[in-house]
Every structure is written in C-alpha cells, then in structure tokens.
Symmetry: C3
Subunit: 131 residues, 3 copies
C-alpha cells in the first residue's frame, strides 16, 4: 500500500490525484487487477469525474453547498457537519480496474480528492490487488 | 476484464445490468472473490438497488432531478452539469462479493447503470478478483 | 466470506459495525489486502465516517430526511421510496485496505450500517481479498 499527501486550498475544493494514483499502480508492479483509492478522513472524499473542464468541479461544489448548507440546524459542535454529510454522500473509497499496468479510466475521467473542510493536508492510500 | 455496452433510452434512466455482470463472473471462472463493476463515463453511474418494482427507479430519478435540477446557476457550458453531479453522488464503481461463482446480491437487489445524460451507448467494465 | 446480523433501532439510524468488520478481517487471516463490506438490502447502506461524536450521525439523518422526504410525489406503493433513494446515494458497498491484519481506518473513522427503513434485522457481508 502507498500513501501520499495533498495540500488542499479553500474550504471546499476538488484536487485531481490521477497522476499520484497512476504512479502508485506503476510502482506496485501489478499489470492486471484493481486499485482501491482510500481517503482516511471524515470531512473529505474520493470521486471520479471529468478532468477536462474545471467548471464541473465548481458546479458540483455550488450544488452540494446549497443542498447541504454550512449553517443549519446541526448539533455537532465543530461547525463542520456539512463536510461530514458531503463525505458520506460522495464516499471515502473508489475501486478502479487495472489493465496492462494502468487504470482503465474513461477518456474524460480523473480521480479527485474532494475537500469539504479545508484547507488541510490530507492523506490518500492506494492499494493495488493483483488478479 | 470484460466490457459490454448498453444502449440507454431517455435523458435519465436506470438500466438493469445484473445478467451481464453475472455472465462476466461466470466466464471469469472465479468461484470466490469480488466483482468490480466500473462505469468509465462522467455523466452516468452504477448502483445496486431494487429490481422488482420499476417505480423505485422512477422515484429515484424524480427526486434527484428536483434536488439537482437540469437548469441552474451552472458554469459548465455543455448543459449537463446536473448529470456530472448525479454521477459523483451515485458513484462510478461498485464492488460485490462473489461466492460459489455468483454475485451475493440480496433477494431484491439488481445492478443498474444510471444514465443521467442520454440516450447514448455506454460501456461497463467488470473485473473479477479471486481471493 | 463472513456474514453477521445487526438489529437496528428506529426507522433511520446509523449503527457502528467496525468491531464486527475488524473481527472478520482477523478471522480471515489476511495480513495485506482489501476488505469489502457489503449490504444486501435495498433500503440500507454502508458508510465510513466519524465515530467519536454521535451528533454527526444525527445531523446526517436530519439533512437527508429533509432532502429526501418520507412523503412526496412517489409512485412506489410500499411507502419507503425515500429509503431506497438514500440507499442509492450512500451506497451498498465499501472497500477498505487491510495492512498488517487490520483495516487502515483514519483516526476518526468507523464503519456504519445506515438503516433507512427500520427497525429490522439486517445482514452484512465481509469479504477479505489478499494481495
């Protein structure tokens, strides 16, 4: 398993991590299998979506900020309940097939860390299983 | 890894792909392990839910269309920001245990491609890991 | 693969299952690999989030109940469309890396069964893959 860090900017942001995940797959030596990308934080998440146009990330963050507002009738005293809820809705883990030593991402897909309570230094794990 | 295509109908729709995934598991020859179902598109997703009553899919699409409207204060110029957002919320990948050569789906569960920006021809990957 | 049961309380609730999943990993004997936690129900889900402060779960359930109301313009006749929709949004499966025989959960992370149409007795599967 490999672990790398990402320094996030802003309270909410999407940071592309495709290159780091691909590098971990390459170093694993696995040619055929599955890569699990795992976020060990409770106010962040991992997603796979378009990496060509940054307005997609902006539109996603705008919509979820409106659906899950920062201030609401929350009880959690740390003021970041919205970030926990967004993390649950997006999910901490993604599994991507590996073929010929590379992720089988679609033409427009990239892997992203979703920061919902930054800026912070976040860690991501990549575990590659052969099979 | 196996890949198959689904021709979707309508702008948003759920298409059951359980039979195709089961067939890929059978052809893999794996008796015990995990099947990863992966959608390489950024305006579609994969989910697991009820396959007995089609009104469940209809209710899901109605609710997410209202929560994530097609027209809103979006910047992405292609007019399909809602589809990208829904894709992020549902997720591109599902991992299902395999036992005795079959998916361990619950009694009411089926695997579905979620189309959020169709109709199109979509591809799905199935990777089965033994273990 | 191991299966265990959880008796849920209330119509919606989060029940921590970290100890049961860790025990299944330990019994598997796998030291390095991935654990897949799978929910075979269509009105429940599995998530990973904070296990220190129970108000996080309360805030999550409050927000999703408001976004996906129990009563709405639904067609599904069983009166639990909201539970199916929440199940799709959270997801039935989680994949967690295993290192030195333990889940690589973050400091604040626990694994939870999300009950959206209880109380019921729910089953969870844990499949651990070596690699």
């Amino acid at each position: 398993m490999e672990t790398f860090e990402v320094r996030t900017g802003g309270r909410t942001a999407l940071h592309e991590i495709t290159a780091q995940v691909e590098a971990a797959v390459e170093r694993s030596g696995v040619r055929e299998g599955v890569a699990v990308v795992y976020c060990p934080h409770t106010t962040a998440a991992v997603t796979i979506n378009e990496n060509a146009d940054p307005t997609v990330a902006r539109d996603f963050l705008m919509l979820v900020d409106r659906t899950v507002p920062r201030r609401d009738d929350y009880r959690h005293a740390e003021g970041n309940s919205d970030a926990h809820i967004k993390s649950i809705l997006v999910g901490a883990d993604r599994s991507i097939p590996v073929r010929e030593g590379r992720l089988v991402l679609g033409a427009w897909q990239g892997v992203f860390l979703c920061e919902f309570d930054g800026p912070r230094t976040r860690r991501l794990h990549v575990k590659v299983i052969e099979g």
